[in-house]
Symmetry: C3
Subunit: 235 residues, 3 copies
């Protein structure tokens, strides 16, 4: 059962990566988004292959299976998606370093403490790490909907529309992950291991493949504005 | 005893992170420094929480306790502090990549080989790793007080003053860490495990929280110069 | 036998690092390349010291020795070399983020799945990871000889010559690594452990020290063109 889901994940991510690269814009104003959106499912494909082969899939000590490649996938793919979002929020303004460092740092802490929570055999330690992970997660959402949304709104135009839609899509999908995690076998154990694997497969395909295609399409529509911004900056 | 120090560390770092963000400048010329200085103690808070909960706190095999979260903290927070320092030395000149890569690389080697030294059960291996770690550390100081100081001095002005003060503050505090390490239980064992934990707590609060506040204040005072530099670059 | 090779590696890399820094150009248009090319063998020296001391050198379970520091070296040094190559391909054009993220991501997957292949006790799992590693490797070569070569060719001039020569040198040397890996004890076992260590030592010296010197010399010859590009960008 789980094994079928993991193989489907590998194929969907591999094909998604090629598809996003093949159909994505290669124009100078958008290609970095295409490159990032294609790399994300390629990393995820590698993680699904590892989970399918059983590499770094381990029993945490009480019969619950830990899929460590998942966390390795997330620790690299989520910063990539967030970097694209920051570049978009600042309408490709070149000085993005501080925002990217801050949001990527909070995001990394969220994922690493999520892994610590999943690894904990003691219930209260598991809860403390889950709550601290949620604090870092709240910091990520604060950045997306606070300072970054403000910057994007101050520039306005079609790009702000794209930012709001991309940020909204990611925010909604990402919010379901900790719920599945909390209900799954690593947390409360309300849903079965198989149900958890299938649920995360669906979320991963939405957050990585579907997002890559729709975000790419939205950027293509805003291409004239992106081009004129670039021309103005180089002038 | 140690447990109290670790809990104090968690609280001091959490409050420090919020305080640095709340009081730091959000102006376009400084906000990346504020974002970085606030992230640093947030990472340290997570490491102190881990050490308090006993996560990745282990016996290295001869009764000496290894606090692995410390090294995980340092490997991420010191590059952030150094990146801020490089940006300042170059007076926010956009092409900083080479300097940051070189100093962050040397710094990472210093911390990783420090961890290898702490993990070594054999005395001579421990000494070799400590010495090689000092070589990398010397490389970091060479960068700070050689090429970077020269670049900053060549631009001159109020920002060079800020660079000299920030670099001086960090250089002095950082120099005490390897001494505590060498005297502590991972090294010669001259001072007790509890004394070492308290000493590093004091150093961490100075190097992360106090530094974040004072460096932020210094940058605020140099804000007019930073603004005019930014305006000149965009003109 | 192996131990002599590892000590030679440590010395060659340390001396190479100092030599590349001492003889490399410190001009504003080239120094980031000098800084990167000097850091690469310093990291490799640390890895050779670790292998010489036996740190993280382990039996994978069937008598085959795993040199983990090698992979730790590669995961940091190859992105540095590729970043320099990307900067060169884009003739130091400031917007390189997308290319660097994509090629460094593919490269990291290549090395990590290579390590997974080396760690696998099961022959078919080892083969699958080796093949997937080759897929990522093909992606790296596609980037170097496809989009990046096109960008460099579109700018033309002396820098395009340097790009073609540096990319060619790296591409040929890097291609021999997977062959040695496949024939060595972690793979088919056609060549002995000692032969594999010596072969990789020779490759490492060519790919890191010799490359650092010759790439630096080529860049020096193209310095007038680099300077005029920089002047034009700042004008």
């Amino acid at each position: 059962m789980e094994s079928t889901a993991l193989l489907i994940g590998f194929v969907a991510m591999s094909v998604g990566s090629l598809g996003i690269y093949a159909t994505g814009s290669k124009s100078s104003a958008i290609r970095h988004h295409t490159q990032i959106h294609a790399l994300v499912p390629f990393i995820a494909a590698t993680a699904y292959l590892a989970m399918y082969l059983g590499t770094f899939v381990m029993d945490r000590g009480d019969g619950v299976t830990l899929y460590v490649p998942r966390y390795a996938d997330w620790i690299f793919t989520t910063p990539l998606l967030l970097s694209g979002l920051v570049a978009l929020a600042l309408h490709e303004h070149p000085r993005q370093g501080g925002y990217i460092v801050a949001i990527v740092g909070l995001n990394a802490l969220m994922i690493l403490t999520g892994l610590l929570s999943a690894m904990s055999l003691d219930g209260s330690t598991r809860l403390i790490w889950f709550l601290w992970s949620c604090v870092a997660f709240a910091g990520v959402y604060y950045m997306i909907w606070g300072p970054l949304r403000e910057r994007s709104a101050s520039y306005g135009g079609a790009l702000h529309e794209v930012y709001r839609k991309n940020a909204g899509q990611l925010s909604v999908v990402w919010l379901i992950y900790p719920v599945v995690f909390a209900l799954g076998p690593e947390g409360l154990g309300t849903i079965s291991a198989a149900a958890s694997v299938w649920a995360i497969l669906v979320l991963d395909v939405i957050a990585k493949v579907a997002y890559g295609f729709t975000a790419g399409e939205r950027l293509k529509k805003a291409e004239p504005e992106l081009m004129s911004r670039e021309a103005r900056r180089l002038a």
